[in-house]
Symmetry: C2
Subunit: 343 residues, 2 copies
DNA sequence: CTGTTAGCGCGTTCAT
DNA sequence: ATGAACGCGCTAACAG
């Protein structure tokens, strides 16, 4: 399909017998212009359906007014909330966003960085893939002074601003809640150990245990790669144990929901036999039976904050010193952790 | 933050004492070039961290290699699946995507179209907002020969390609299933009547009824504006009826899930007292209790198809004649519509 | 083999 | 009050 020709200032100028710069001035309402010519030009532009060419503008001023966004996946509710916050904020401040998904692949993430930089985005908002364990691509951005910040899936290796939630505290909250309800043997179902959130949430888990006098060596950590098969395996294995846990804190809601299904299949009552809690507060968690206790992460607000901070840096409203924003998480106590009278 | 300076061909040229065009030729591996100069240039480019400027390229060739995408909202699972399909496809074919959300607002949608056009996107993929009832903004795109196609939320007023699912057939499938299970008095909980999908799904509903000998005048259609309050109201009103329905087909899953909650609160057993089905197959629907019968829409595939078709048009691999693609939906029968032995 | 010229659409000089 | 010239980064056409 041949793209329909776009009217340019040049054509308007020609039609009216004026110069291009006059048209330019008229269109941006410059004061030093005869009112007549101005109206003539503006009207002609309207009648010719003239549309400003942002690309040319970008080239001229070396600023594209576009932010690049890289997320591991677009379909997770949490990331799409982030993006929604970023998009709304960027839009309000006159920016567009270009979106890539790494699909949790390191190579893809590097490629995404390249194409966004090539596209001359003014800054990037990045949430790292699960595979990302080395950071040369980010270091390069840093060295080349291309503004970017990280959100949610961050690394401390690069000194740029970050926006995260208080993972450790959130985990602490939920485990504390379990202990307070009277559960004693709390398991932590963790994702891969090298994941930032796996570590952080474990910290909170251990801290809550400690507060209730349970030493780390009595902690019960189960590791899964988050595949369905392995989730199932660790759950069933756990059920076989002699001294099995009476409560499970699963690192993320989708894991918790899978565990819930498996427990129910096996006739385990929740919370009577085993209590269960997650993290993220996905929409799903409110509607499962029993409703799932979890920790609410403000995804949309994270996106807003991240975008606003990056734009503030770009507009030099704040200094470039890296800042770390930690958003509060809140406990959402539901039925899956309700202590029943007896037991 | 001042953006770090990007190295240009000009600088490489200067440093090496050659002309810019020579650099250009070397970098795109032109054959008519002395091997030596080529290597010298390529190496210098690498050492200087040269990065190609896509923006300049775009201006030159009047093609940005960017697709614009407008969706009503980013956080719905269905739309984020669409976007995921679009993004993956575009990326594979060397395009980036710029995303806007209309937030279901007509004004916002018009504004989105403007900014994307201004940004010189090569084409647009649009899913209409709920509010959109007039189509001048699309007509203008059409008149100006800016390639675009519509997906999911489409209108037949504009002769461009469209990608939809077979709404009527999907509704037919699920209502047919209900009737086959032995339910007799099937209600249709519909969104606003002027919505395309409200109409289409009603068609399928009526067709299934007809097939089982139920005339249209005995149909039971309840209209809601999809707010929580109104959903609640129509559900409670329905429960008061003398001759109340024994099954409900809700236009979309989120509505179905809300209705499920309300029914359960009121002691109505599902499916024993009233069966319930939805449409979309959101992740949530699989995990509610009872699991929700619904119709599966291939969101990711829709995105892929839409993007591929638009790019095919842009690359002139297919003609510009508008085509309508209708993707198949499939019934996902679950427990919420299981006919119990007795009753 | 390589350099010069010109132009993509725009806006900012600097003239007039 | 308006026009001409220049440059943003890049490449195709034309010269040599």
């Amino acid at each position: 399909m041949k793209k329909g020709h776009q009217v340019t200032m040049k054509e308007i100028a020609k039609k009216l017998g004026v110069s291009v710069s006059t048209v330019s001035r008229a269109l941006k309402d410059s004061p030093e212009l005869h009112a007549d010519t101005k109206t003539r030009i503006v009207e002609m532009a309207k009648s010719m359906n003239y549309q400003y060419n942002l690309l040319a503008q970008s080239l001229r001023i070396s600023r594209s007014k576009v932010l690049g966004v890289i997320v591991p996946e677009l379909t997770s509710h949490f990331f799409s909330s982030n993006i929604s916050g970023i998009q709304d904020t960027a839009y309000k401040r006159g920016y567009n966003i270009m979106i890539c998904q790494s699909n949790e692949s390191f190579e893809q993430e590097k490629a995404n960085v390249r194409t966004l930089v090539s596209s001359q985005v003014d800054g990037l908002l990045i949430s790292l893939s699960r595979e990302t364990k080395s950071y040369e691509h980010l270091q390069e951005l840093y060295d080349r002074e291309i503004p970017f910040i990280m959100f949610d899936r961050v690394t401390e290796e690069i000194p740029v601003s970050k926006v995260t939630v208080d993972d450790a505290h959130g985990a602490y909250l939920v485990v504390h809640h379990l202990l307070e309800q009277g559960f004693k043997k709390i398991a932590y179902f963790s994702g891969p150990e090298d994941l930032y959130i796996s570590k952080k949430r474990k910290e909170g888990y251990l801290e809550a245990l400690k507060e209730f006098g349970i030493p780390e060596k009595e902690s019960r950590v189960y590791i899964t790669d988050l595949t369905f098969e392995m989730n199932r395996k660790i759950t069933l294995d756990m059920l076989q144990e002699q001294d099995r846990p009476d409560a499970i804190f699963a690192m993320i809601d989708p894991l918790a929901v899978e565990v819930m299904m498996i427990l129910k299949e096996n006739g385990v009552r929740i919370p009577e036999d085993i209590a269960l809690a997650g993290f993220t507060n996905n929409p799903t968690s409110a509607v499962v039976e029993p409703s799932l206790t979890t920790v609410s992460q403000p995804g949309y607000e994270m996106g807003q904050l991240a975008a606003n901070h990056l734009l503030d840096q770009l507009d030099e409203l704040v200094s470039d010193d890296p800042q770390t924003f930690v958003l509060l998480t809140t406990l959402v106590a539901r039925n899956s952790t309700k202590k029943t009278p007896k037991s």
